[in-house]
Amino acid sequence: MKHFRHSYLTWLIFAWVTILHCPSSLAASNDQEYSIKAAFIEKFTHFITWPQDKHSTDSSNTFNICVLGNNPFGDKLDTLARLTKIKKLPVKIYYLNHDDDISYCDIAFITRLPANQINAITHKARDSSVLTIADTPGYGEQGVIINFYSKEQFLGFEINRIESDLARFRISSRLLKLANIIETHGGTP
């Protein structure tokens, strides 16, 4: 056994190095964070009931997720849309500017933007019963209904109860138990 098969070992290491440097291993560029946030978004819909008139006034027969501003998800939400239905409806993803109409959105993910614009968006969202989601510190207090944050070792989220009530969402206690509850009014423009 002293005469170890170095040629075999060389082959093994070569195979390994080949794997490590395979281009497809390096192809993925977005991080895991937004995959998890995309999954969270889908999970939220299981615990939230939209007002009955939301879908009766919307004839699209799709569940619309809108991303406002620079899209941080890459193609993750499109993948989500291919893999699943939400509320028994096919999922459609829209990428919008901040000042676009969002009334047909069921969910609006809002990226970082100036404070005066966030107020305008939350106001529009409230009137149209659009569930607003963001991942910017302070957006929960500014009226976004669900706001992700880094909590110790975990990804956490806060829920603005006043805003969710104003937008007439019913949120399951199971989801509320997991959230940091905010009870401040986001204000109006």
């Binding site: 056994m1 170890f4 390994w16 490590l20 291993s25 993925a28 993948t79 989500l80 110790e152 070792q153």
Partner: protein, 675 residues
Amino acid sequence: MPYKFQTPVTLLLIPVLNFIPVSEAREQQNIGQLLQLSIEDLINLPITSTSYFNEDSISVGSTVSIISTQDWQQRGARRTHDALLVQPSVAIFPSFLGQYSVRIRGFAQPDARGVETLWDGVPLSSFNLGTADINRPNIHLNTLNNIEVTRSPGSAFYGTGAFHGVVALNAFESDYDTTHATIGAATNGYYSSAVQVSRAIGKHHRLNFALGGNGQNDQDMRYIYTDPGSGLTASSERRYQYDTQTAVLKFNSDPKQDLSYKLGLYYDNNDQDGFHGQGLETVATDESEVDSDIGIAKFSIKQKLDADSSIEAVTYHWQQRHNFAFPLANGNNISIASKEKRTGADLIFRKQNLFNNTQLSMALGYRREKIPDSQRTVRNPSGAVLVNADQPFKGGNRTIHSFLFDNNTNLMNDKLILRYGLRYDDYSDVGSQTTPRLGIIYALDNNHAVKLLYGNAFRAPTVVEKTGNPRINSDPNIQPETIDTYELVYLQQARNSMTEVVFFTSKWKDSIIAADTDNDTVADLFTNSGDNHSRGIEISHQADINNWQLRLSGSYVRSKNKSTNEEYATFPQYIFNIGTGYRFDDSLSMYVNNRIHLQADNRPAEGTLTANELRDYWRTDLNVSKAFNRNLTLYANIRNLFDRENFLPSMEDMEYGIQDEEISFELGLRYRFDN
């Protein structure tokens, strides 16, 4: 003829080579897997043990890996050290008093000191023994959330003890109400049960509780040896019987409040009989007994000072009792009963955003350890007491005052991260010691980084090494040993894969050894002895591709004593861990893990003892898991699937090494009581 491993390895690698995915498939797989999780499960794995800040793999300034619950469950791990056996250049060595000591990157000496074990941040390494591997070999895995293994010096953060590396056991806690129960039993008499409970108490408090027990019956593990009297080959058996209980209770306030606190109570008891003992000189009855328990109380309180800074006070106290028994060469039996105490306190200041690009942490530390009692009793074979005396180190104590800072500075739009830290320790008995660390991390992009890391560590002599014992004298001029380690790391992290390549070299100076006098009438001597050198390469790759899961790691390590020019040949030159999992559908999954050691000697070559190369170690474990619904999962493990007769090196000079376990089949279930 050596074991024919080429074909199986090739077969295992074929799927690896075929699983190169297209990115779209990976994306779908990743999102698809995440969608299968409950909302409570959508959490990130943390890296917390190498700094006072949370870190990710790219920015972490050490070679640290997280071993998750899922990881050790799918490998069928039963004891703490089982869970570690997936890391490159980490090996477990059977050693004195039945221990399976953790060795990192070579340097396999008989004295298993220099790897710190932390339990929720509390250092457990004994002041007497210099390791936790003897007293605390089996903190129940189902009372843990995860384990972090640092394979490089950690003294710049943890001080003495974290010399070769750190094993950080993070105890169970949850952010949501949950109740889990696990129960299992195996054909070799193994049994295990555990429960985890987390409950909100009012609006701002939470109680986490975990209780676990496991053990196994008499294993009748046969071993062979050369009878010192007749010179003929003889055989005997070891029982390898143990029984362990672990309990953790944590009560904490809401960490998001400006003022938060956490109280933790920990208990562990380990009672093991008939494990390997001293080695060749007492072969016919080479069995040891260890009975040890520990109780820990820990309290921390944290005050946020402003949006990005906080101050935290942490204090802990533990008491440990350990009783050891093993036979002596002359046929007598010795038992040692000791008690040990440790109290520690740290005051930590953190600032997240100094000058907009620097995370600053500073800490003041205090630690006092003491051996209030230690007694040695020698009995003859008929049980008559021959000696009943205090150990020389009874009453031994040490106080350590320390200061450390540990900073990150991000430059070039976060592409360049500088990690720099320094720890100063002032010992009551061995003077002061300063340990620096430096890391230069260049992020090629969000997913690739190159790191150049330097770490210095020291280990102060234990109370036994300072004082000596009846068989080994002490050197009055004994000094702390030091080590310098340089690492070059390439890290690639993508959505479904992570790859790490590490080149390392370590220089260990003034190593503390029990020098053999080569004369049985003269006691050996604890002393500083020469320099040692270790170098090697580690490669690890993890990937989740469609329904497949890959966990691969390998290492090549050479280490030697530069003074004697002798290699630490018991540490395997090559270690491979090849794990392959397949998920048949949403509920049924299978995982096969192979652990391979190549080119390791049976024992250290010392004096007149010669060493021979062990046959290659290859163990295959199989796990099958079936989830019947969201609450109930049934699992089955077969350890040592092919019932191969594997041997691990004996650090106490057993000439045939120490036999690894035989095949066993375990069946168990996990039940979640949540809706």
